[in-house]
Amino acid sequence: MALEDTPRLGCGRSIDHLWSTLDAPAGEHEEHCAHCRDARARMIQLRQATAALKDAEANDPAFTPRRSVRDSIMDIARTEARRSRLLAVQDHDGGTTEISEQALSTVVRFAAAGVPGIQARRCRIDVSTAEKPSPTMGTHDATGGSLHPMVIDLRVAAAPKIHIPHTVSVLRHQIGISIARSVGIYPVTINITVEDLYDD
């Protein structure tokens, strides 16, 4: 396609080449060629104007959307998130209780945020409704309801210098405590996968 051909000046020099050598001193051809001299001067001006435009845009509140744009998006995102996956955690004569996975992840992430050297990534939580709830789970349901076993799979990024086994053990402990305190369930399994490093 002709449009995609390398665009050239009247003297045959490619504009791309000229642009990439703006910082280098003009060569012999460029010094004597009117096409190149002219184009070079214009391109230097363009480069300055581009930098000024970029800088001005980035620092001017006029180039920012209204706050209501962010609020609308987040209202919808939060509402959708809360309903994205509901886990039936408790059967009861008087009715069932389900908790959104997102609400449970909030508790998990809250616990993980308190452990230095760890960044929580994907978190998947499941309850097993197929199995009979185990009486040894340590759950205590004062109203006689039955609680389903909960399994937490958390993927994390770790800072390079931490001692992984110790940190993961602390993390697992903190998650267990937080879920017990804020939900009222002792998760039976907390699987933690360290999948990446990050710079602290």
Binding site: L86, S100, T106, G184
Partner: protein, 129 residues
């Protein structure tokens, strides 16, 4: 309890929904009733986005925000969607809400059926001021 025992047509599903909403909001550890996506969209008046149909309307029950109630054969069934305070045990809060709602329903003379509770968010209570 049957409909005959209940004062005729005196109790509507709407009344039960209001009663359940109030009982839930008065329970310590409940931060709020959750908004449905339809509520959010209509609040934002996003004409371009089509709200999903509300199944409660098709079932003939009553939905107020995220409380759904239905009276069937003199028995009231309720479904609540709530957010709880991270400082409270969510399941204990859920049990307390269920008990309050059940008590409230019984006081109307209607029988209390299933009271299902969905905990959609567990959050820090926003600090005042």
């Amino acid at each position: 309890m049957t409909e005959e025992v209940t004062p005729a047509a005196a109790i509507t599903s709407q009344f039960i929904a209001s009663l359940a909403a109030r009982a839930a909001l008065e329970t310590p550890g409940v931060l709020r009733l959750e908004s449905t996506l339809n509520d959010v969209l209509s609040r934002l008046r996003l004409a371009a986005m089509e709200p999903t149909p509300d199944p409660a309307n098709e079932l003939g029950g009553c939905r107020r925000d995220s409380v759904w109630a239905e009276i069937n054969g003199g028995i009231a069934h309720v479904h609540l969607e709530i957010a709880t305070d991270i400082a409270h045990r969510a399941l204990a809060v859920s049990d307390a809400v269920r008990e309050r709602v059940r008590q409230g329903i019984c006081n109307t003379g209607v029988g209390a059926g299933s009271i299902d509770i969905s905990i959609l968010a567990i959050e820090n209570q926003p600090t005042q001021g």
